[in-house]
Symmetry: C2
Subunit: 307 residues, 2 copies
Amino acid sequence: MTFEVTILGSSSATPIYGRHPSSQIINHHDHIHMIDCGEGTQQQLQRFGIRANKIRHIFISHLHGDHFFGLIGLLSSMHLVGRKEELHLYGPAPLKEILDLQLYHSQTTLRYDLFFHPTQHESPAVIFEDQLLRVSTFPLSHRIPCTGFRFDEKPRQPKVDMEKVKALEIPPVYYPLIKQGKGYRTADGDFYPSAELTIPSPAPRSYAYCSDTIYTPAYVTAIWNVNLLYHEATFLDEMRDRAEETYHTTALQAGLMAFETQAKELLIGHFSARYKQLEPLLEEASSVFEATQLAKEGATFKVKYAV
Amino acid sequence: MTFEVTILGSSSATPIYGRHPSSQIINHHDHIHMIDCGEGTQQQLQRFGIRANKIRHIFISHLHGDHFFGLIGLLSSMHLVGRKEELHLYGPAPLKEILDLQLYHSQTTLRYDLFFHPTQHESPAVIFEDQLLRVSTFPLSHRIPCTGFRFDEKPRQPKVDMEKVKALEIPPVYYPLIKQGKGYRTADGDFYPSAELTIPSPAPRSYAYCSDTIYTPAYVTAIWNVNLLYHEATFLDEMRDRAEETYHTTALQAGLMAFETQAKELLIGHFSARYKQLEPLLEEASSVFEATQLAKEGATFKVKYAV
């Protein structure tokens, strides 16, 4: 089952060196979600061949411009190209007023239904759920209200072990019950528990997005043990004071956070304009957490099953 | 004296085919002005090596997103890179509320002085003036309030004809008076009118920007006889009905407008997403007004002196 992250923007604050402000696409089983939407995101979608109209959910972490100034343009373009499918938007409450004001003055009535779901930054909360996935917010510690997002796959039922059930001549009508955990008793009176008749599905995967935040243990529990952690790494650790002043994280701290929360893999992004070359940031995070990669724009990262 | 237009965006409505929404830079004698600021304009400035901090005046024609969604990002980036110089912004009154709301929720207090000058779309008005240039608005006819902009050089004093004044041994202290139109009487009693002692400066040049608008005689007077006319040409004339419905202009109509208003040269832009190739639009406008060019992004067009 597909579960992957495509980076659209990796820059903090301002676009520079061809890098764009924050945005990424989460593809889970061909359900397309977007996290953050900095200026130029709709152009990035075009560049990487991702169809904007496939996006069903957009999650905005906070109201600094580099995380949402591209949203009004994206929503407007969806309208202009005739989108009909509903769209769900999650973000801080004032975002609705900001969008409404601009739509009002351009005399635009969106042709599709836009459902706005305000988020809060006081405590973790489940904000979206379907059969396969659960999305939650958790508080980050930034200069203004900000949340992270965690995507958790739901546990899937085991598969029926076809070899075994056929050998025992179990009628297919029993398969759904067996998958749900019921055992089966044969005509001979032998009892087979569900676990003997099924192949377990792989453990559910999880992804967490942490941008922007100071390095603090406050969200350790919320991102515990994810398969892939995206964490901002705005500065090198020699700029730790600056990171604290501006409520950002250093690459070393991002690595430590991945290590401490037992993440399987780490993706770092939200790079400061002071770094034209990103390898030093990668080296620094990797020094404490080896399975680290740079969130390069256009690259897609799989959320892998734990082995 | 420099007077030129650099195109940053040439697309209508949505970015497509690598084309960006409306924006352009007017350089008059190294005073840098911007007209409109669609999404991604700050990236376009970077691409073409234009320093955002040199911009002193920004003029916004109307509140459709493809003409101003890049403004908040540009203003924010100017703040983030430490701009100190004041900036003057001209546009429809609600623009201020839209910007203020976003700055408020991002808890941003701009480090530079931003002066907002609301425009009105009822009648022509001079909105900016310095020693060399006058900028005016005039009403266009679009779905929402919209103005065009006209940039007029002010007439310059003639130059003193150095050969003549030296031959007549006129003391330099008289030069400023001669340039202002006073004549000079020699010791012999001969009188030389100013016109005989000076070389006239070239006639002042003018540039007009018309986007977005339906084709109507209403603004013919306002753009009369400019050296360079930028006019939207959203559609081919086969789409004239669609142009009227959406309050836009066809390439043929843009050519006619240039012809009727005795423009010297025409630049067409604001191309619909339906045209991947732009040559047919150019051919159509050129068929009625030969001195037409496409507003290609990154290209700079001189506002030429009339010959």
